[in-house]
Symmetry: C2
Subunit: 119 residues, 2 copies
């Protein structure tokens, strides 16, 4: 029997930046929580959109032509194929939705993709 997910409780259970944890699944998608500190890598996902909802802190989604600044309770969907690079100063907590199996680094090979881990 699956239980509800309390976002704050799940966020308190890990500390690593840019290592999203899966907290639920919705059809073939993973609902993840991530902590972001500093800048990630530029990447895109050729086959899927990427949903970001900020839970706390401020997240900047850098696009090649502008920045999207998100605070708590704000969401943005990066369309498939669009290059982006999230950054937070100092830290943001973010809910992310992507299809299961999607690497968080997309098409970038600058760093290893996070392992999919359910908590």
């Amino acid at each position: 029997m699956e239980d509800k997910v309390n976002l704050a409780e799940k966020l308190a259970s890990f500390d690593e930046a840019f290592q999203p944890r899966i907290v639920a699944t919705y059809n073939d998608n993973k609902v993840q929580l991530a902590k972001t500190r500093g800048e990630f890598v530029w990447h895109s996902h050729p086959d899927t959109d990427d949903l970001f909802l900020v839970v706390s802190g401020r997240l900047t989604i850098q696009l090649r032509d502008r920045d999207v600044e998100l605070g708590p309770g704000e969401l943005y969907v990066v369309r498939r194929g669009v290059e982006h690079c999230p950054k937070a100063d100092p830290e943001a907590h973010v809910l992310l939705i992507e299809p299961l199996g999607t690497p968080n680094t997309g098409d970038s090979d600058e760093r290893a993709a996070a392992v999919e881990e359910r908590i």
Copy 2:
């Protein structure tokens, strides 16, 4: 050019209960905001999961064998085919994700499905 979505601003722009508004799309899914007051109808979605994330207030997702009580920052995914009936007393504001084209009333004919409307 799509802009970010501020959930509070979108929620302030309508008042009807059980008439979800689409605020974004993610792949073939609609990201919706809904206001819930009182009890909806018992229904299920035979072909899709149903994601609920409470933004404010308290939402009870009644299942046939138990109730799932959600407060702000809590989410629950109703699995495909599982009968459920959301209720709120007095009111809850909820983010919902379902595939585009999914009627909010599922397989129930007790009331008309909400028209899909993007705000």
